[in-house]
Amino acid sequence: MTDFDHPVRPSRRAILKGSLAGAAILGVPGLLAGCQPATSAPPAGPGGVRRGGNLRVVISGASTTDDVLDPHLAGSWGGGAVAKNVFDKLVAYNNDLTLRPRLAERLEPNADGTRWRIRLRHGVRWHDGKPLTPEDVLWSVRRILDPANKLPAAAGLKVVDLAASRKVDASTVELAMRTPIADLGALLAGWYVYVVQNGTTRFDKAHPPVGTGPFRFVDWAPGERTKLVRHDGYWELGRPYVDSVEILLAAEADARLNTFLAGQADIVHELSYVQAKTQRSNPQLTIHPSPVGTFHAFNMLTDRPPFNDRRVREALKLSVDRRKIVDSVFLGYGELGNDLYGKGAPMYAWSLPQRSYDPARARALLQAAGLEHLTVTLHTSEATPGFVQSALLFAEHAKAAGITVQVSKSAADSYWTDVYLKQPFTQTSWGSYALEWFYGQTLVSTAPSNETAWRRPDWDRRFATARGTMDPAARERRYLELQRELWEQGGNIIHSYAKWLDGISPQVGGFKAATVASDDWCSYREVWLS
């Protein structure tokens, strides 16, 4: 917890729960001023921080063919790490998926959530010295939404009505919504939603990325490494601490760990569970598990037999021994899932009881449905580490309920295109984002990845109402009801939340364990080297 975000979160909570309905204020202007002593020559810095040095990190990433510098397009972990340190978002997620202000000092909705004013931070400069303007923000939204660009964040931002949006003054943008939105920030904090400079269309060697982030782009070898240097005019006073960052890519977990063990990297991202276990006693490597993990699930298409019977769905949910999966697949680096998305996120339904392993009850449900000795085929692949082991364990656990789970393994490279969404019983894994983002992607009738064939017009309507409900308490109640229906009848068997594991060397200071895709994840502006 730094001086920076500590006062922000309580103040936001206080405001949300208080009487200021309709005005979710993110952060207090001038908050930073009192927190950080002015920068000075190395090696002095706040709290024993040392300045200077070249930070080297290793992470998996895209390959030479598909690596891109475009922050609106870089979907790989390595690409995300580069974008995170070169660019800034308007707002970003804390580890608990609440929001923290970045380029936006505040987001202010009108009374019904149809218009949002974005107040930009003063004194932010691009790497080329130009000041940040409302035009930059409008351009970024336009670029993301332009169908010709086919950018993945378009799905998340499609609630924005660009034609009706405008610049209000030199530091204010007003975005118009197509439907009422109570928490625009949750969408603006999405993976890809970086602010790029007005008019920018290309990001490559000939058009090097220019951002507002803590580091300037210097050079890259696609699929191999990216070199960044400190942006001296960065808006967060005193940051960043290191002079330069090198982001190395290695696809394989052992190659990443070996890069670290050979002294070629100071931070190794994305350790495997086995590595974390074997390196536990290594004094040169401190492991930081993410506060919240990525969920792992089995998905049933609820419009296909036998999964169209809600008793069958519940029986299968009761036939997974979640604790065993967390212990033996994720070696303890995980948490139990409760068939609900967004553990740790705002609006998550903590009040619903944790579903347990209850084969006797599962058997009774199947008996009632006339489907004793049920046989189902679960389609798995090595597309994501842990899928195959979880599927095999599930097959073991389900035997006790009289269910035969036949595990069918497909090729990893074609799983997402040929199997997922096509076979009735598959596997999936998603990072942590706001509930409304995930619902829009997978649960509304028109969702692009409706992986459980969850098409309920009534549920859609109630979701639209909930996401547009400005009163936080009422919104929370509405989200609870939506989640209760999913918990009882939904097609996702979300059995675990697997942690993301980072390892750091003893020379690294200021590193914070972070939830994937949150602001601190792969952010090097607070890191220093001793």
């Binding site: 390959s63 030479t64 063919t65 598909d66 690596d67 891109v68 979907g75 790989s76 995300g80 086919k150 993945p152 964040a153 799905a155 998340g156 999405g190 993976w191 890809y192 490559d204 050079d219 890259w220 070898a221 696609p222 699929g223 191999e224 490494r225 190395l248 290695a250 696809a251 394989e252 052992d254 190659a255 070996n258 890069t259 063990l261 050979a262 070629q264 490279d413 074609s414 997402w416 295109t417 040929d418 997922y420 969404l421 990072g431 984002y433 992607q441 997978t442 969702a447 692009p448 990845s449 895709a517």
Partner: protein
């Protein structure tokens, strides 16, 4: 009159070479058609991949895919696309990657040097170790030295690449930290500028490939050393050393050349495991990734390059065989 005689009759080797070059070009052309067809037969295409599930996106509608396909030119008939590609190749235009939009020539060019260096060093060591140990063991067939070489070769040869690579890392990077466990090559620099990064990958590759070469050469050598003409030479009192260098060697080498060629061709595009374990920035792993992401133009260009390299290596191997065994030369290369 000499001048009136056809060149072929006068220079059987030149005629052989010309014939082989023509057939090499035809083989590469045929390979281009085969590669193109194979890529077209794979299920799914780049539009699926670009619009499929990755962080934050989500599977796309058929309509969105159709639009993207039209944009990438994937909706045109196969013969048109093939003709287009070959015409581009003839102009020296390899096209752009469907995934990143960067020129294929630039993507391949960035790593070609690294692959050539790794393949070149490994091939050189393979020739020395494979042939050297094979000859040495073959000349001592069924003696203790031969048994030791053979048993070692068989044991090493039966280990999968990744086991060998991990063993080498454990021993030579961690137990005795002599070489880096990872091959980081600064972008734009040659791996030869930091030769230590080549040591373990080259050792792993040679350990995988050498056993079959050793056994092949050893068997040939043992057979030759047991042949009537060698026995005759011994009876004439010629020294064993001279028998080996002047009489046995060439005959033992000729059959090993094609085998070496296949190993060297593999070095060019098939060393996925070694590249992955050592994170070596070569072409093989990207090729596999390119196939998985259906990056057609990139995969087609690279596989065609591999096909051309393979044809070239085999051609060289045949020339070595012809050089080694004079009777192949005098018969105009017909074997």
């Amino acid at each position: 009159v000499r001048a009136a005689r056809p060149v072929a009759a006068d220079h059987p080797l030149a005629a052989y070479l010309a014939r082989r070059l023509v057939s090499a070009v035809l083989v590469v052309l045929a390979a281009s058609a085969l590669i193109f067809t194979a890529m077209a037969l794979l299920p799914g295409d780049a539009a699926d991949v670009i619009l499929s599930k990755h962080a934050g996106s989500g599977a796309a509608s058929e309509q969105a895919k159709a639009v993207l396909r039209a944009e990438l030119g994937l909706d045109r008939p196969l013969p048109v696309r093939y003709a287009d590609w070959v015409a581009g190749l003839a102009r020296g235009d390899l096209g752009v990657s469907l995934l990143s939009g960067r020129p294929v020539a630039e993507i391949i060019g960035a790593r070609l040097g690294n692959t050539l260096v790794l393949a070149g060093v490994a091939a050189a060591l393979l020739v020395v170790v494979g042939i050297g140990l094979g000859l040495w063991a073959g000349a001592r067939a069924d003696r203790a030295a031969d048994r030791m070489v053979s048993v070692t070769a068989i044991s090493l040869g039966s280990l999968p690449e990744f086991v060998l690579a991990i063993l080498l890392i454990q021993v030579f990077a961690f137990t005795w930290p002599l070489f880096p466990p990872i091959s980081l090559v600064p972008p734009g620099a040659s791996p030869l500028a930091s030769p230590q990064v080549l040591v373990l990958p080259v050792l792993a590759l040679v350990a995988v490939m050498a056993p079959q070469t050793i056994r092949m050469v050893r068997a040939q050598m043992a057979e030759v050393m047991d042949s009537p003409y060698v026995r005759m030479a011994r009876l004439h009192g010629i020294t064993e050393r001279r028998i080996i260098t002047h009489h046995a060697l060439r005959n033992a080498l000729a059959p090993a050349a094609p085998l070496l060629a296949s190993s060297i061709a593999w070095l060019f595009g098939g060393v996925v495991v070694v590249e992955t374990v050592f994170n070596y920035p070569g072409l093989s792993r990207d090729l596999v990734h390119g196939i998985a992401t259906r990056d057609l133009l990139y995969v087609q260009a690279l596989t065609l390059l591999c096909a051309a390299a393979t044809v070239l290596v085999y051609l060289c191997a045949d020339l070595v065989a012809v050089w080694a065994v004079p009777k192949l030369r005098t018969s105009g290369g017909r074997r």
